[in-house]
Symmetry: C2
Subunit: 354 residues, 2 copies
């Protein structure tokens, strides 16, 4: 258990490479950045020597000098249940492609997001992208003020100059309602999920509004979380209704609850889609599995991520933010959020009209 003193290993620097290649330290820098004049053969030699030594420019030091390290802060939460993991996966892939390094800030729960937003500042990243929790206007303001970008994925940024993009949740809810009404269903239910969840609330709103406009009043069931277990519990409640009073059309604001709802009904004499139609949201991979074949909505993740990256890019060029014209199926909300239409994925939990 003898503990050696904390000795610092002297780092290999561009100076060591310069010495070995018999040039000035400045030339080593030029060889790697490509900036400034340098003879082709000198460059070759330097690169070769550096490779032998195993040296690469220190990105931290370079970032300090240029004031612009290719770093981006990403705020995320627990990656359980698929959808969040998909979002992160797409983002990471895009950053890798655009040669930016994501620095991850992980929130155990949504309340920690605000604190992480503050932590973010120490790293002088190009900007921050938020994929979890709620955003306070002042936080976005503080970050934008520094010249950093600020992007929110699937949530409002609560700031005019920030970029926010999300699935058109109200539209999805309305589409679900219309689909169910077209089937001639009568009694409607929505598994609304979190009372203070933004996306879930928007989906619920779109659904309820569309139904009311047609003279229907749906049941709205809220819950503390949006898991498969919650879905099952909802099924239990559903089964307590007299058979002739049970809802015939169920929209779940996410797939997890829809899957659980389905499971809770198995072996209970209820047939989907004969007795009721069920629609989910997210298009989780599990929704396509044999025992489910759930009709659901796919969120336009590719589009959203690519637009975030265009925003980041345009912010960098300082040409006044995302001047990109809104592609098909997008609209700009009053809340400055760019909304992208979800895609209906028809499977077997609704009556087909193929």
């Amino acid at each position: 258990m003898n503990r050696a003193p904390l000795s610092k290993i002297r780092a290999v620097t561009s100076r060591d490479v310069a010495r070995a290649a018999n040039v000035s330290q400045a030339l080593v820098s030029r060889a790697f950045t490509g900036n400034g004049r340098i003879a082709a053969e000198t460059r070759e030699r330097i690169l070769k020597v550096a490779a032998e030594i195993g040296w690469q420019p220190n990105a931290l030091a370079a970032g300090m000098v240029t004031g612009d390290a290719p770093l981006v802060a990403v705020i995320t939460t627990r990656l359980s249940f698929d959808w969040r993991a998909q979002v992160l996966s797409h983002l990471l892939s895009a950053f890798q492609e655009w040669h930016m390094k994501p620095l991850l800030f992980y929130a155990e729960s949504d309340d920690e997001v605000d604190r992480l937003l503050v932590e973010t500042i120490a790293w002088r990243t190009r900007g921050v992208i938020v994929t979890a929790g709620n955003i306070a206007h002042e936080r976005a303001e503080a970050i934008l003020e520094r010249g950093q970008f600020f992007a929110a994925l699937n949530r409002p940024a609560n700031h005019q100059s920030a970029f926010a993009i999300a699935t058109d949740n109200p539209l999805g809810g309305a589409m679900a309602a219309n689909l169910l009404m077209a089937e001639g269903r009568r009694r409607y239910l929505v598994l609304a999920g979190l009372r203070d969840g933004w996306a879930a609330a928007e989906r619920t709103r779109g659904y309820v509004d569309a139904l009311r406009a047609a003279g229907h009043e749906p049941l709205v069931w809220h819950s503390q979380s949006m898991t498969i277990e919650v879905g099952k519990e909802c099924a239990t409640t559903f089964l307590e209704f007299p058979v002739d009073q049970r809802p015939e059309a169920v929209f779940s604001t996410n797939d997890a609850m829809a899957l659980g709802f389905y499971d809770g009904l198995r072996g209970r004499g209820v047939s989907i889609p004969d007795d009721l139609s069920l629609i989910g949201f997210d298009n989780l991979s599990a929704s396509s599995w044999t025992p489910y074949q759930l009709t659901t909505f796919e969120q336009p993740l590719d589009t959203m991520v690519s637009q975030v990256l265009h925003y980041i890019d345009s912010h960098r060029r300082e040409d006044g933010g995302a001047a990109v014209p809104a592609p098909m199926g997008q609209r700009l909300g009053d809340d400055s959020v760019t909304y992208c239409a979800p895609t209906l994925i028809r499977r077997l939990t609704c009556k087909g009209q193929a």
Copy 2:
């Protein structure tokens, strides 16, 4: 489309804070690091002024001076299918707790891992942790040589001085075999997955060896990937066997394939566990869902992650690496990998002997 010139915003620095608080710049630094003497009230004042201005020490600059930014490189791949996402989630959570910032290196496929390992060097992190692909000895060597740590999760590091920890895959395979033999099953099959996948191959080996030792010779089916679709295809092949020649005991080297295998058998007159027993690996959340209730193995992710962090910590203290005595259920392999026993999760796809 008029593009403003790329004007650099002058950064707010500790000097600005010093001026505002009427102290030297050095004191501002002391107020934040806690190193060096400083009067309590001076410190308070500086902190207050800094908060007003919204300044925090630039972690990049600090890292350069101290030669030790709290950065760690994490190599990961596509987060699809749950298990990888779980691994990353646990790691991120642990890093957040230990005040280290993960810099993510994302590989689209396993072949890219080697390149990412090289990219890693530019960032002068405390070390790197690999959760995807194969590791070349030279890569680990190059990193360790710099005084960085090197950890491999669920794969061998191929280097004596690196730290590698993994589920005891051969043990899992053997446990599956013993369980199935105890049921009195006769014809054995293993969905072996990737031919060159390390974990899958180890699970297969443990299974096959245990069976052979008891005089059984199992069928071994390899595949190009390890998805639910592959599992389904295996079911199709299975169904082509005459009924009295079909395997009665199936071990799948991951849950995804097991789930697909199950799905492929639905409605085909085969009963699980009456006609055959099925065991998976990973304990994906889906394995516990109503239509599956799959018997499987849980990988000791908590243990593995916490040991990785202890290694990182001990590496930092330079007390000669992980001197931590191996906890229960662990063994050190010839390959310098620390193996942790998986936990059998009994559900309904095996004959119970409750």
